[in-house]
Amino acid sequence: MLATARTFTLDGISARPVRVEVDVHRGLPAFSLVGLPDPAVREARERVRAAMANCDFDFPLRRIVANLAPASLRKAGPGMDLALATALLVASGQLSWEALPRLAMVGELALDGSVRPVAGALAIAEAAREQGADAVVVPAENGPEAAMAEGIDVIALESLEQLPALAKGEWAPERPEPLPLLLSPNGHGPDLADLRGQRHLRYALEVAAAGGHSLLMIGPPGAGKSLAAGRLPSILPPLAPGEALEVARIASACGRLREAPTGGRPFRSPHHTISPAGLVGGGNPPRPGEATLAHRGVLFLDELCEFRRDSLEALRAPLETGTVAIARSGSWRQLPCRFMLVAAANPCPCGRGEADPECSCAPIAAQRYQGRLSGALADRIDILAAIRQPSAREIAGEPGEPSADVRERVTLARERQERRLGSGCCNAEMTPAQARECVVEEGAAALLAEAYSRHRLSGRAHDRVLRLAQTVADLAGAEAIDCEQMAQALQLRRRDGR
């Protein structure tokens, strides 16, 4: 007898529909699984066999062929166990389930028949809705996550034993309470008040947050670079509901949504030994990298100069386009990655900075080190903040302004930008044409022209200063960019080697 069940496999951050077809007929007892399964899927046979036996079902001693269609799609992960077991139960006549064709189901089976959570429940529930399914059966632990998808019924299943009751309609569980969509931090995260003194750094952070500008912090070890970067999400404007859902979908696909959520924008700080695939995503089927995990949030690269050159090179195009394109044999995926880049570096290999007489770096070593700061990736960075060791008085002094106050100003500045550029856009993303449309007062324009010729700015740097100046003006609530704001933007700009 033949039975089919619908399930999904995760590909990047989206779910692809898979139909599990199980045929049971006479012959020597065998269980073969075809349709491009990866090792985790192949092992499903053993899990299904044990789970059925331990839930008082019979494992049919006949010839069983399970096919995962479409056969051309590579299937990964253990999420297809539940659908496989269900189809096998129906095919062997142990279960009759009329509603099965209108259902989608995912879940990994434990040997005792309980259903274990899978990654990507949110994306799977949404994909099931797109496919026209009435309900999606998910592991109990994934219930709240899957319930975030609106317009589809969610059944949270704890064990294979519950299936007969569910099939007969004797047991109709309630739709689980969806996870809350946290648009802004819930207040448990780190707060900017911890940053004492460091006025210029605070100012640079505020401008960076207000305009979505990328930021490079240079200073000796222990001066507070990582501390400052970690507090950046707390001053970023709240997510729009659509954006929050995107963030949740990515977190869900990586199986991270069930961890205690702090809300608001993600903050990712990969170690500097990370590979290109780890940073932008890779593998087959493609898995999202840190850049995608930082979507709509902050990607912090501490010790920028220590990162592998190829890893940084790989970040260039995604930074420009806001998406990662991963091409694998037979597949081409685009993953979103609109993040704010924040980097930190020491001023020279020893960290003291060459202005310090104690600096023991050979000039050529310092030069080579700084050469990396002006490399291809650094070219995409807008703001440079030089950091120094805060004085004892500052460390012991008053706590700084709390994040909430700063976030208020930043949010107002973002609202101005969205009115001008369209929803979801910020100054850092202005096209050169849009940048030329900024309203600049006469004196400010003269100041920019003077700097352009004196410092031999490139055209790109010129536009960068304009964007920064627009953000400074937005923070001040000004309609046109005045001299003072232009001067501040010129100071904040990243310096290049020329």
């Binding site: 240079i218 001023p347 004085s391």
Partner: protein, 373 residues
Amino acid sequence: MSPRACPDCLRRSWLLSHLAPYIEKIATSAPGSRSPELLRLSNEDLAAAAAPSAARQILASVEAIPERRLLDDLRAAECWACCRHDSLYPVGLRDAADAPWALIGRGDPALLATLEPEALVTVVGARRASSYGREVARELGRELAAAGMIVVSGLAFGIDACAHRGALDAGLTIAVLGCGADVCYPAAHRSLWRRICERGLVVSEQPPGAGAWRWTFPARNRIMAALAGMTVVVEAAQRSGSLITADLAADLGRDLGAVPGPVSSRSSAGPNNLLAGGACLVRDGQDVLDAMLGAGVRQVKKAGERLDPELLEVLAAVERGEDTCDAVAAELDLSGAEAAAALSRLEALGYVTCSLVGVYARTLLHPPGGASI
């Protein structure tokens, strides 16, 4: 009029490059033995002193190089040569007992006729220079070149390169190399080397293609010291090669100048000691001009635009060593935005410069009224 060199003087250069490894052994084995003293010796004595066993063979092989080969080598390397018997040979070098027999160089040889010691200033200093030293060297080079002087230096990292760059901004410069004039050492300065070839001179006593040895650096220092009427040391640690140049210049009776630095800084110990020993105090190009040509004979022009009191305060803070925007803000109790705007204006007016890593340094530009420094 093009420079000429007689074959015997040219062969001396080729002999030096043949003897280079032997001289290296002597110059590095005994502390205090300096190559310039060896270079006073005649061909035969030098060969015998440097390579007692191979002397005759090396002399014979150099002697056997036909004149044509010498000239072909020069032409292939796009170099000219000027020997001590030629009227274009720089006057300053004639004062030195150990002067090179022939100068081999690149660049416009017509410049050779103008190389009076009174028109040349040698600026030397540490390769590992602070941003203060580099800024001073650059400004010194710029001011002196703008005032019509030719700046001589050694194309090394740090002070040398900054002096060359400053001079190229405003006028002429000469690089004296320890390797062949067609060899760029250090290689990182290739674009600078090319610009100097176009705008000034690159000279050496070594034949084309010769590599650099440890002893060739003090050897070229003697050329720098003899060429110029004054030698200025910008930054140098206690045992720096720049101090060899200073010694050699003093031995020749040339003027010696030094740029003062913090007494706590190791890299300013050399010039500070020179000053204590009676060297001429050099704060800017004007001090050099006054010392060489007499007070007030030639003027360096520089004074920035007038500054508001607030900007003067920020400038004073940078002078005190508050070298980041953050430090200035904390020192003067300004907001981050105010400090940023003020520093940006000072940078636009040329009073401060900002490094790649966001560290500010004071330039030599004075606000009118002379309130600071």
